[in-house]
Amino acid sequence: MLKSLPDKKKIITFILENAVSVFLIGFIIFMVFTKRSFSTWDNIVNIINESSIYGIAACAMTVVIISGEFDLSASSVFGWSTVLFTMCCNTIGVLGAFVVTILCGALFGAFNGYLVAKVKMPAFVVTLGTMIAIKGLAFVVTKAQPINTDNATLKAIGRIHVGDISIIPMVYVAVAVLFIWFLRNTKFGRDIYATGGNYEVARLSGINVVFSKFIVFTMLGAAAALAAAMYGVRIKAGWAPYGQDLSLYCIAATIIGGTSLLGGNGGVHKTIIGVLLLAVLFNALTLLGVSGSMQKFVRGLVLITVIMLDAIVAKRRKDR
């Protein structure tokens, strides 16, 4: 059996497809040798804690992207949810806060889902509209002021630790595992892949594509709300502008991880790497003393590079 591709091409393909993981490992090695403060336990804990909050939402965003759409409003749902969560902690207690916040997030998500799946409005516009509207709502309700809480139960939850790891990474892991299992092992999960892969074919195969698209937005709304609640556990406050960059962060992490924007492939297990890379990258930049605006620069550059690589890989795959 003759080899159909020369070796050089195979190597290039491997590098392109796994560029992100390769880069991550290389970068970690670089940092370990360059900055002592990087590889301290404290710093690692920091990275884990930091990335877990957005990570929760990133898992759900991945599912939305697999179904062939994306969602800009997650940022506003996050900001709004931090406010709602804090307000509820001050009034109906922590348990009620969790329930109300997550339900509200799911409702916003369901609204998005309905318009996209049933009315067939383009996701970009729908989530743009809801992003603006929900952000406005958060500002209006709080008159742009942050809200604080010193709910004792909340503080107690925040103090739960296994070793140095707080409860937040544990929730992140639980959510990630749940999503991974759900996508791989349930009919719903596979339906989502089919819907994103080829909507018409999926529809004609009897898959309830409308439901698939609807449910992924609802899940993202709930996940963004949960992430916000976790943030509330950490900082015990809520403010409308929180989570401004959540949507794009999650989309970036998903693509960086290797899930294609076109939908139908990838998975949450890949996004976890994307989240990790972003977290390590920004942690490193801060440690290296890179200024805020420079970090922004790098963030944008990483995003562009990753989407270009993603597209180039897809093109090569098509030509093979």
């Binding site: 409005m121 509207a133 406005g136 693509i255 180039i312």
Partner: protein
Amino acid sequence: MNQKRFIDVVRNNGIILVILLLIIVTGIIERNFLTFNNLLNVLRQVSVVGIVACGMTYCIIGGAFDLSVGSVVSLAGVITILNINAGVNEYIAILYGLLAGVAVGVINGVLISLIDGRTGEAFIVTYGMQVVVASIALFPSNGLFISGRISDGFFKSMGQGVMPIIIFLSIAIVMEFVLKKAKYGRVMTFIGGNMDVAKMSGINIKLNRISYFIISGVLAGLGGVVLCSRVTSSNPTAGLNYEMDVIAAVVVGGTPMSGGSGSVMRTVMGAVIIGIMSNALNILGITAYHQQIVKGILILIAVGMDILNKQLKLKEMAHVKVFA
């Protein structure tokens, strides 16, 4: 026949009618609202967003989005003011600002053409550029406002009186003419309508698309120049979240997000409508934050009606099958 035409008019312009209603009601409540001065002021307010929205319209008709316009507005303003303060000839300073827009447009266009990017890729690439350019804008002044030492001259006049409005409207008129009457515009509607068909009809997709981003970039630069002339200072974050307002203007104006058709004049109307609405809401005592909610809902309604319109049209057309 008359009844059907009336329904069509409502369907196609529903949003505008609602706003018209709002304007009339506000005009009754507050007599100062409908004065010439006030309306002129509103027009002046929307001019900057309007200029940028014209460029965005071309992008959207051509099948892509340019999310980097907000940062280009900031960057162009920073570059222009810094140059003027350093004593550079004001025309050259303005040119530098515009060139910044051109440069960003070229980069956007080339990157997206390289990967044959559809809407989704264009979205992310231009978003990445937005972040990159925003950080570059912060650079020269370390994120601080810079007050402009502007002497009387062309630059100063750009932001005052009716100049912004004249710049805005003349650009819009020229762009609309090119869109509807010239070869360039016809090609744009094909590329946005179905890129594969355009390609297989012998059209050079890459060059055309790059030009859409360049136009979007240069107009964003122009918007930034006019803006910093109006406020006589440079704000490195002047354009923050601008792209949302710009896209809102295009959406409310009725240009479909799917590309392939649209009108710059309609975008002008969209920008004006949003401006008047903001002004009316201000007068009625509704704060900026409430306005955001309204703006968001407006976008949803505008697009919702567009979609419903399309679905109804499809149903109508399906009954008119031509047999051969």
